[in-house]
Symmetry: C2
Subunit: 794 residues, 2 copies
């Protein structure tokens, strides 16, 4: 293949000259952004006044990306392709800003940066400059769905964008350093999930420029054969484009892009017209070119081009060092700007003509501003899936299974529009969302065996044992204007902590950009949670993702703790309807008592927090104690504690509060869901003891409420990092959040309870001992625990 | 190769019979652990009373791991190998418990589980049972350094264990599901960092049992050729061992293990005797065998062996379903326990003879209890690296560069013992630790070019663009009794949040196990931190790892914020000397004023918190305001604010407190570093306003201090998730933690300041406007900001 592409020289001399000129222009504009404050067209000799005082940017990756971009433009134009560009090494921001400016996208979105000398000066100055634009391919950059600041997610984003977009081609540039990251190393396998009949194509371009920040890359220092073998092993057909002579490289790249475009079309035609459903070998490119290509060969006697030294700013101190100033000028002049730009600063017409037009420009492709294409989901009425709850606490149900029924119907109603997918790391069935498989299958393009169940090329449940890939796919899918859902074991969602961060940051910035349209929220279901990972033990017990999430901007994140199935239904519906949020839903998958009828659940969830009057007995006066709870297991234990209190201390006035939307606890000024201080005081009283049983690490509740009037009386129980393989109730006991400990907490905190309470305290102490004895002998919880039901009729 | 190994049948009939019997015994004991409470040897017919009420465990992976274990034993014995075993799918706990019991390790460490019928019954009952042992290969399991609960880290752990252990062979079983994770997918490249001359060997065994929880695996559904190609591409020489007939498979496996053991020896000899430093092609095994091998073929008419249904407990409800009870009995009897165990329950002598002895048993290998082998580092006196600080705030230094000088000397002094390594994702130089390269190089076994610098096979600085791999290597290195250091950009350390969790959990459990010896702490340097990622922008700004860390057990974690270089030196020394901690050090790499002389730094850091008297002026009475700070940039801004206050409000009494050890803020009862309430009150006063400038998210300070007397007067400034590419000072301004905003905070909170304060308030407001104007014009901070120095002589 190699041999064939190399022999071809598809570019006529004119075209070659123009393409090379276009590339020079992009390189020129990139260097200008990194270095210049003024004198953009170098009409005057360069002086230090023209140079930025702080030089911030990354040159090394940029010329390679400019090279790729112009070749994408060529095939887009030639074949009217619908293409977007993902820049893995997103620190190559100058390349994307330059190219989108050249094609006119930039000016269309930012009219104050026109396509002339004034605009060019602004373009240069604003880059990595206070009040200007970031150094990376941020949300501010036209055509970007991927900032590329934290490396590793380019390829999963690219596949996510391609799913269900049959006409889209996603060009995905992957840094050879980036390729060393775990998330990227496994994302190559996404090709086993891409259906050529109904999905678009991903064209991975491994940008083998040899170096990362200060080291060679691993992939650049394997033999050619190993490299080839690796990508063949990953299931691709690698095309090598290698060299440094611009003209030769343009010919090679053009020839390769032509072959690949043909090949992708052939693959898609075969699948679409002939119904061929075997996994094809998708082409990819390995572009081996010098890091900092066309930049200074040496700086201060040290190798710079084709070396890691060109990673960032190849030389600084331009203001004080005249040699550097001269070097900069001669470097910039080496692109011969006078041949590239009109007097006015506009690009020459023969170069302009190389860019695609309208929405075909990669900077204006609507898929890269997904909100533009977003259609609402068709949602069934979640009430139809309600569990009948005649009286609180008697019906048993598995909340996530009920939710699964709803999700299945959502899936069904949106099969035609093909804009809803569910992701999970091999846990969809384990998380009791199996009803989905009545409606669709798991996406699977790899080999199948006769005994396989629920695998199909057009399945819409995506399972791979990589939380990173699930997250990356989903982000790519959402950012291109579709909807989705990610279910995960609670503990292991920490695997994508940093990806969550990046997405939250992207949303925050996007919301400040007028031309970015809202996208569907990223919805997490965290289940198999800390309290019911008793069988897998300590390593599977960690409710800390919530803590992680609440550090991000309040208007982007929401956290819901569903006490039962009907509340979960309401929350799920709300999340699927929302835009530009990251919604975290925590809910159990085990059979558990159901507390609220659908009507009650709607009222409760709409407020996000509320008194459960049927569980409270302070209606006629003030409570002696407030028992608050958030999360299914804490709610169960709280109600069991209330039952004990009612039996043993019938005069004690107890108010039960359940929290569904965790952010209600924060002051109104801090989070849109927050209660006002007055509302909070009414619920929690200004001065009564509050015993709060919380799903996660107890500190979080303090963090959210420390400003509240009654904070000093707030006593929180939660997960205190004790756990092992044990019984469900013992997990609660180990962390002092069980019914008996909660009763003891009440006794310790409510003044003046008298001697009845002393007996009760001893009673619960004895119960705890009995419990431990029992489980060590029998291995399961005492019947009175397992079979406990809320004994009151309402 | 394949053909060759298949034709060999190295096992004589006896040996074959015994090996198979050994395997049957391990399988028998595994099933027993999952299912039985009693009747361990099946001397009576099985009844439901013998069965556990809750069945918790994973069968699917177990027989394959038992198979591998016995073949490891064989080569260990035959060649006197020094081998440890890492179980990637650590949910195969029953296999490791069974095998270590059979070889006697288990009983040696847990004498209450003897090698007889009584012990066997205990072994069975305790598994996944309250008060017993976990279902995974936890720290409780002899021979384990890897729990394998969260999948993905087996291979990086294995390489970490092998570095600098020339005689060690690390057998690393990798689940085919696990192989889909990102961390695992990139860890294969660790072979480019393993030096055959001075490191041990890793033998990866890809356990291709076809399935994960409820899906086939990607690797199992690639063609043989692709699979082969993938691992050739990764730089290995794959050996396939495929089939399901036990006798054939034993022969194949034995032949393969023999070839591989020879090959590894040849590689090592070549490197060690002939000085061959080219990267060898290390052998690996692809073991394709049925999931749940030897388990029930079908359950309730559904395929189970060789299918995902055997992943966990292949059938439950044994107590109520007599068919299941019968199935269990016939399954267990299919191993013919009477041929395997003596009447007494002890293993038959001919089987016992197959296990290695003493420390050669994988359950007793001291490398898997690394604390046993741990030697103290030889540490230079950190005082020798001190920055001379004559008066506070005048000397400028880059803290991490100073630390680098110290680390370099630590490296030098421990070159001989080869037990110290520094890891980083391509940022060692960027993080200013470049002095290390005067002493050692970067580890590099891949190709080199003439222009390369600081790359060598025996380098001790390990750089790969994978935070996961750095962390995994370091954990493996520490757990086998060595020392190390991980430097990382602060924001991207979140990539390993979940790995941190797992290591913290491992340490917590280990500390409760008497036979586990303390290991060296895991030390992080987080630099290029939130306040000075102004050039990379928002995606690189996240100080939340601290929040993540403090959720773990207090006696395991510590967080240090170094205000300057001398404090950083002291902290680094303390961390390198410590055991069984995870130490997080946050420090900047940019030039910044130095506050404390070495003597002062020692006093300050030893306490972890203290008043800076030279910056305070409340010596003669009570302060009007306490200005607290933690972190280098907040400290700088606080002191600059104090300067403004002194100039404009000379009568105001200000106390300056700096916090180095963040955990001092917590109550004594919560963390060993915590101050008592009295100590806290003395420092922070019971009632004066406290303005606290904190490095990270401000809520954390509230979380740590909400119980303190003066909490209501505590006003915290920190990172509130605002950032972009801008100037350093503007980052502070965007988050209201700059000197001017701090002054405004003081004015707002100290009562009775009068009209001078009103003018000052307007002055700082104007300064902030001036600042914004200036940076938008010039792109850098105002000279009065950049050049500000603490103007007082002491
Ligand atoms: C996950 C992560 N770790 C570390 C960094 C710091 N970093 C920024 S650029 C870079 C090197 C990137 O090399 P490569 O992917 O080859 O990009 P290129 O050579 O095209 O610049 C590194 C390590 C990062 N951005 N993300
Ligand atoms: C990172 C992570 N995600 C998800 C899980 C849940 N999980 C437990 S076992 C398992 C399947 C493992 O499959 P494989 O590695 O093939 O192991 P084996 O077949 O040998 O059991 C999964 C997904 C996990 N333990 N870790
Ligand atoms: Mg590179
Ligand atoms: Mg498997």
């Amino acid at each position: 293949m190699d041999a064939v592409t190399r022999s071809l020289e598809p570019l006529a001399q004119d075209e070659l000259r123009n393409i090379n000129a276009y590339w020079r222009a992009a390189n020129y504009l990139s260097v200008g952004q990194i270095y210049l404050l003024d004198n953009p067209l170098l009409k005057q000799p360069l002086t230090k006044e023209h140079v930025k005082p702080r030089l911030l940017g990354h040159w090394g990756t940029t010329p390679g990306q400019n090279f790729i971009y112009v070749h994408c433009n060529r095939v887009i134009k030639q074949r009217d392709l619908n293409m977007i560009y993902i820049s893995g090494p997103g620190h190559g921001g100058p390349a994307l800003v330059a190219n989108t400016w050249m094609e006119g996208s930039y000016t269309e979105l930012y009219p104050n940066v026109p396509m002339n000398a004034v605009g060019m000066q602004k373009l240069f100055k604003q880059f990595s400059f206070p009040g200007g634009v970031g150094s990376h391919v941020t949300a501010e950059t036209p055509g970007s769905i991927h900032e590329g600041g934290e490396l590793g997610y380019a390829l999963s984003h690219a596949y996510g964008a391609a799913f269900d977009n049959p006409d889209l081609m996603v060009c995905c540039v992957i840094g050879d350093g980036e390729a060393e990251t775990g998330p990227l190393a496994t994302a190559w396998h996404s090709n086993k999930f891409l259906n050529p009949a109904t999905d678009g194509a991903v064209l991975p371009i491994l940008h083998l420029n040899g170096y990362k920040i200060a080291n060679p890359t691993v992939l650049a220092r394997m033999s050619h054969d190993e490299l080839d073998s690796l990508f063949v092993g990953y299931g691709y057909k690698p095309y090598f484009v290698e060299g440094s002579d611009p003209e030769e490289m343009h010919q090679k790249m053009a020839a390769t892009m032509d072959s690949i475009a043909d090949e992708i079309k052939a693959i898609q035609d075969d699948a679409r017209n002939n119904g061929n459903t075997t996994r094809p070998l998708w082409p990819m490119i390995i572009l081996r070119s010098p890091k900092g290509w066309t930049g200074p060969k040496e700086v201060d006697g040290k190798k710079t081009e084709d070396y890691w030294r060109s990673h960032q700013v190849p030389f600084s101190d331009v203001i004080n060092n005249t040699q550097h100033l001269e070097l900069l000028e001669s470097w910039m002049r080496s692109y011969r700007p006078e041949e590239l730009f009109e007097e006015s600063g506009d690009l020459k017409p023969e170069l302009k003509a190389l860019a695609p037009e309208g929405a075909r420009r990669m900077g204006m492709n609507p898929h890269a501003n997904g909100g533009k294409l977003l259609r609402d989901l068709s949602l069934p009425d979640y009430r139809d899936f309600a569990v009948a709850v005649e009286r609180p606490g008697h019906t048993m149900a598995e909340s996530t299974r009920v939710m699964g029924n709803f999700l299945a119907e959502v899936m069904r109603q949106n099969l035609d529009t093909a804009n809803f997918r569910v992701m999970g790391p091999d846990e969809t069935a384990s998380n009791r969302l199996g009803a989905l498989f009545d409606v669709t299958e798991r996406t699977w393009m790899a080999e199948t065996l006769p005994e396989d169940d629920h695998l199909a090329p057009d399945g819409r449940v995506m399972e791979i044992l990589s939380e990173h890939t699930c997250q990356g796919w989903l982000e790519g899918y959402l950012l291109t204007g579709r909807h989705g859902f990610f279910s995960c074991y609670e503990a292991f969602i920490h695997i994508v902590d940093s990806m969550f961060n990046q997405h939250a940051k992207w949303l925050k910035v996007s919301k400040e950009i007028p031309w970015r349209r809202p996208i569907a929220s990223l919805n997490y279901l965290l289940t198999s949670h800390v309290w019911r990972q008793d069988h897998n033990g300590f390593s599977h017990q960690d409710p800390g993702f919530i803590d992680h999430v609440v550090n991000k901007k309040a208007d982007i994140i929401r956290v819901f703790l569903a006490p039962d199935a009907n509340t979960l239904l309401h929350i799920t519906d709300k999340c699927l309807n929302s835009r530009d949020f990251i919604n975290v839903i925590v809910a159990g998958k085990q059979p558990q008592p159901q507390w609220l009828s659908m009507d009650a659940a709607i009222k409760h969830c709409s407020a996000g927090i509320g008194i459960w009057d049927w569980a409270s007995n302070d209606q006629d006066g003030e409570p002696d104690v407030v028992m608050a709870c958030a999360g299914d297991v804490p709610t169960l234990e709280t109600l069991a504690a209330v039952d004990l209190l009612r039996q043993h201390l019938p005069d004690l006035k107890v108010r039960v509060i359940n929290v569904v939307d965790l952010m209600t606890l924060q002051p109104k000024e801090e989070h849109p869901s927050g209660l006002s201080d007055r509302e909070f005081d009414i619920l929690f009283t200004p001065d009564k003891p509050v015993i709060f049983a919380y799903h996660g690490y107890p500190y979080l509740i303090h963090r959210l409420t420390y400003r509240r009037t009654n904070h000093k009386n707030l006593h929180v129980r939660g997960y205190k990092e004790e756990g092992t393989t044990t019984t469900p109730f013992d997990m609660a006991v180990l962390n002092d959040i069980d019914r008996f400990d909660l009763v003891a907490d009440v006794i310790d905190r409510v003044p003046g309870l008298g001697s009845k309470a002393a007996y009760l305290k001893q009673f619960v102490r004895d119960k705890l001992i009995e419990h431990t004895e029992y489980i060590h002998k029998y291995g399961e919880d005492m019947p009175e625990i397992r079979d406990w039901k809320w004994p009151y009729s309402s």
